[in-house]
């Protein structure tokens, strides 16, 4: 790599000013009602953050209602039924509508600025994710006001959640509403992973990357492997609820424990998915107030990556009391203890940084210290409950309630409050008040500990979780009263923060630029803020460029780095390589559009209609959603630029179009498909899980119904299906090859053939279980075979749409031999489909023969 000499020499100020004006125009948000069509990360990130914060307040009010009910024994402030709705929604809202979304929200808001990028690579995807989140969140929360909220607990264990007597529509609202939001989370993960790997500023090698980006990279990868199993579980549970497919009904070969596995293989990594991005903010705040670089950077990277891996070996520690063999519990106990090592290392690195620096007192730092005090306590009780024998006592008692709130509030909420005080000037150009901040901190810190510290004891005195009342005289009365008082003190603290946040500050003067004297790129932000993110995308030589690079801010402001202008009137950002951040492309990102919102409304509609079992409406809405997404792809992606290359400044010329692994779209497809494959793996896990618990699988009852002599599904039709699917894949790859070689017409013909054969594959795979006479409501075996067939068939159907889309793009002249992003990505999709179909065949057709 040749070193880029920087900055560029100074230019005529008038020219620079004209450039700035044009750049501002390009990045400006639309005015009036069109404002809501904006897709830029600053706006979407802000809406996302505020919405998630709103859900936090809602979830908090639910908690206060619960604490009021539990203040005294045998209270009748709320009914048992309503209390069940309260704790179910409190957990679900805090986890799915606050903790996970706010990390995505803050990342969307901050990550591009921390990387001095103009935007994330897929702004419309962020907007789509936001609208999904808003619609799903309101749907789930709104159920409370119609007395239709779910009552199954945030873990929604069957058979309670499939019990007709106790589980009403609330469970469907929960399943479909939250599945919808999970899709949005995965979209955000794709965006953030590529944002970190491909959208760093030139020169920001991987060893110079801010720790926040490291954490977000790890968390993105974790979301990719943690959320899909839950989506698979949601699918199974909803199929049982809606169509009586007995996945979790032991009377018909199902098993309630399958749900627990699928739920917790999501649920435990999720705790770290919440914790890591919040602790990432701490990793940004501590160096600023210690006024020195972070100590133990490599150790913190170890912690982030190590935690990401180990957190997938913990899920059974939520199932210690389910009677699994000791040796199995032992594995998970071991991993649960091991994960404490990386978790601890990063805390020690932060404190070591504080030891080495000259620490400045500030409200964010106060919250950081409080967060450490609370989180370390939660971590220590976590080490305790990771030991199986102790957990047998503590599990499902108030000890766990205390433990999880210590970890989540110390590991997530207090850091988020620190982030609020730290980044408020970044967003609004004005600081939050110091004195109310200190008062709020002490109210929150005191209230929290008064509420939750006694709960450890309450739990060890035998009080189970999720009880709407308790008898007097068991030693719990006083402790509960204290907890309730603490909860209200805490709420008062939240109120102080909210008032300070929302009070009008029109007359308050702007703060100085970079008010905390931080060293990282997000503090390049101007006061008052400009829509472009950074005036010019800088070349980076240090982990703390604002501290280390001479006259850095001035050079950025004078447009002496990359992309200082927007001559063609397009929104542009830099794409760089993953390891050394060498510039490889100037990426055009799409501007404001209502299409993401429309797509979210229709897709959301299909989930919501399905809740009420209005299936035709759901299908219609879903088709409209697919149409909206196709329209979005058609007009907004893989556009052929008016020229091949562009001079981006500092003497560098970059291509405007990149297909294959060099482009961001290919990576988005690849990463999405990894997540998708994980969901499929979740379903396959279900198949083998049933095999382990049954002596005969496929079971005899299915075999008895067969006309043929084959076992279960038989081999002929699945074999036909998989053969056709592989043929569809081969033809797609051939079409890509031909298209690239300029054989456009031949490629079009091959695409037609590929689509026809792939459609036939879809039909054959669906016909297979039908031909075998498998009745999905009879037993878990046919239900599992059916769900696998449907899953693969649906994916093949999407593959057919992709093939036809390529054909249409080719006919419309939007895809050519040199500009073949659509074709390359479709081929990538089909690589995964070929593997999926082959695995499907091996599992449902070949495996039964092998026994």
């Amino acid at each position: 790599m040749t070193r880029i000499e920087h900055p560029a020499p100074p230019r005529d100020p008038a020219e620079v000013a004209a450039e700035a004006e044009r750049l501002e125009k390009v990045w400006e948000s639309p005015k009036g009602w069109r404002y809501w069509s904006d897709v830029n990360n600053s706006e979407v990130g802000l809406w996302y953050t505020l919405t998630a914060f709103g859900f936090l307040l809602f979830g908090g009010v639910l908690a206060l209602l619960m604490r009021t009910q539990l203040a005294v024994p045998e209270n009748d402030f709320v009914s048992a039924e309503f209390y069940d709705q309260l704790f179910t929604l409190h957990g679900s809202v805090m986890m799915f509508l606050f903790a996970v979304p706010i990390l995505e929200a803050v990342a969307i808001l901050l990550l591009p600025e921390i990387l001095a990028s103009r935007d994330l690579p897929f702004p419309r995807l962020s907007a789509f994710g936001y609208w999904c989140f808003l619609i799903g969140g309101i749907f789930v929360c709104g159920s409370l006001f119609f007395d239709a909220a779910p009552t199954g607990g945030w873990f929604m264990y069957p058979p309670l959640s499939t019990d007709e007597r106790s589980a009403g529509i609330g469970v469907d609202i929960w399943l479909l509403g939250l599945s919808f939001i999970e899709v949005a989370s995965i979209a955000a993960a794709v965006e953030l992973i590529i944002g970190v790997l491909k959208c760093r500023p030139p020169g920001m090698r991987i060893n110079l990357m801010p720790l926040y980006a490291w954490y977000i990279l790890v968390v993105g990868a974790m979301i990719l492997f943690a959320f899909p199993p839950l989506i698979a579980g949601d699918l199974l549970l909803e199929m049982e609820r809606a169509f009586d497919w007995p996945f979790f009904d032991p009377a018909r070969g199902g098993d309630p424990l399958l749900w627990q596995h699928l739920f917790w293989v999501f649920g435990h990594p999720e705790v770290y998915i919440i914790f890591l991005p919040a602790i990432a903010v701490v990793a940004m705040i501590v160096p600023t107030f210690a006024q020195r670089p972070i100590y133990g950077y490599t150790w913190i990277v170890l912690a982030a990556v190590g935690t990401g891996f180990l957190s997938f070996g913990l899920w059974v520690h939520h199932m210690y009391a389910t009677g699994l063999p000791s040796i199995s519990l032992g594995f998970f106990s071991a991993a649960s203890e091991a994960v404490a090592i990386p978790t601890g290392v990063q805390i020690f690195a932060f404190i070591a940084t504080m030891l080495l620096g000259r620490v400045i007192f500030s409200v964010p730092m106060l919250f950081v210290t409080g967060a450490l005090a609370i989180f370390v306590a939660g971590g220590l009780t976590g080490v305790m409950v990771a030991l199986v024998p102790f957990d047998w006592q503590a599990h499902d008692s108030y000890f766990i309630v205390a433990h999880l709130h210590y970890t989540l509030l110390g590991g997530m909420l207090f850091p988020m409050f620190a982030a609020l005080y730290y980044y408020f000037p970044f967003v609004t150009s004005r600081e939050l008040s110091r004195r109310p901040g200190v008062i709020a901190f002490w109210l929150l810190f005191t209230g929290f500990n008064v509420a939750f510290l006694p709960m450890h004891l309450t739990g060890l005195l035998g009080m189970p979780r999720r009880v709407f009342t308790y008898p007097e005289g068991l030693g719990w009365d006083g402790l509960n009263m204290v907890s309730t008082v603490g909860a209200f003190v805490f709420a008062l603290g939240v109120a102080v923060v909210v008032v300070d946040m929302l009070r009008p500050r029109g007359r308050q003067p702007y703060c100085t630029r970079n008010p905390w004297n931080a060293g990282t790129l997000e503090w390049l932000t101007e006061v008052p803020g400009k829509p472009w993110g950074v005036r010019s995308v800088p070349e980076i030589d240090s982990r703390y460029p604002l501290w280390d690079q001479k006259d850095f801010v001035r050079h950025v402001d004078e447009g002496r780095f990359f992309l200082a202008s927007a001559k063609e009137g397009k929104r542009e950002t830099m794409v760089t390589t993953a390891i050394d951040a060498e510039p490889i492309q100037c990426l055009r990102v799409p501007g404001p559009s209502f299409i993401p919102m429309v797509a979210a409304i229709f897709i959301g509609g299909s989930f919501i209609f399905a809740t009420f079992a209005w299936y035709w409406m759901a299908v219609a809405s879903g088709l409209l959603g697919v149409a909206a997404i196709l329209a979005w792809l058609w007009v907004g992606t893989a556009e052929i630029p008016e020229k091949a290359e562009k001079a981006v400044g500092l003497g560098l010329t970059l291509p405007l179009y990149a297909s294959g692994p060099a482009g961001v779209g290919w990576w988005a497809m690849f990463i999405t498909l990894l997540g998708d494959a994980t969901a499929f793996a979740g379903l396959v896990f279900g198949y083998f899980f049933f095999w382990t618990i049954h002596d005969d699988f496929p079971p005899a009852l299915v075999q008895a119904d067969l006309v043929q002599a084959e076992v279960g599904l038989g081999v002929a039709w699945p074999a036909a299906g998989v053969a056709l699917a592989v043929a569809g894949w081969a033809l797609t790859v051939l079409a890509r090859w031909g298209n690239r070689r300029g054989a456009i017409y031949a490629a079009r013909l091959v695409l037609v053939a590929a689509a026809a054969i792939s459609a036939a594959a879809t039909a054959a795979l669906l016909y297979a279980p039908y031909a075998a006479g498998l009745e999905p409501t009879a037993h878990a075996y046919p239900a599992t075979v059916w769900i696998l067939a449907i899953w693969v068939a649906l994916h093949l159907a999407v593959g057919v749409i992709a093939q036809l889309y390529c054909l249409a793009r080719s006919l419309a002249g939007r895809m050519t031999a040199a500009h073949d992003i659509d074709m390359v990505n479709t081929a990538l999709y089909w690589h995964f489909m070929a593997i999926t179909a082959a695995v499907h065949f091996a599992v449902v057709a070949l495996f039964p023969l092998a026994q």
Binding site: G306, G313, P325, E337, A338, S542, R543, T692, I693
Partner: protein, 119 residues
């Protein structure tokens, strides 16, 4: 010396080996305990696999250590804007992750050494 091209896949070698080991041990134990099987062979297999995994992690760690030591910079923070600094940072991070994975693999092998039945 010009450092060779680095990749992020190397970085996660240690934890990946741990993950595979963990998954195989868990699945094997689940199947043996559910379907009935010889517990002694299971334990020997899990412990044998642990030795193999520890060896692989140890090798990856040793390789990372060698790469790290051969660099120009004597110690962290490895925060220079040079290919060497980046190379040494990745080597050190790989080494640390191998250390963690080594401990985690030892931990996961413990239950197989302790429990003689599926109870």
């Amino acid at each position: 010396m010009t450092p060779r091209k680095d990749s992020l896949w190397e970085l996660i070698a240690g934890p990946t080996i741990w993950s595979v080991y963990f998954l195989v041990a868990y699945v094997a134990a689940a199947i043996v305990c559910a379907k009935g099987g010889d517990m002694d062979s299971l334990r020997i297999a899990i412990l044998g696999l642990a030795v193999a995994a520890l060896g692989a992690i140890g090798f990856a760690g040793f390789d990372a250590w060698r790469r790290w030591r051969r660099g120009h910079e004597a110690a962290p923070p490895h925060d220079d804007d040079t290919a060497m600094s980046r190379h040494q940072f990745l080597a050190l991070a790989t080494l640390l992750l191998c250390g963690l994975s080594f401990v985690a693999t030892l931990y996961v092998a413990l239950p197989a050494a302790i429990f003689a039945s599926c109870r």
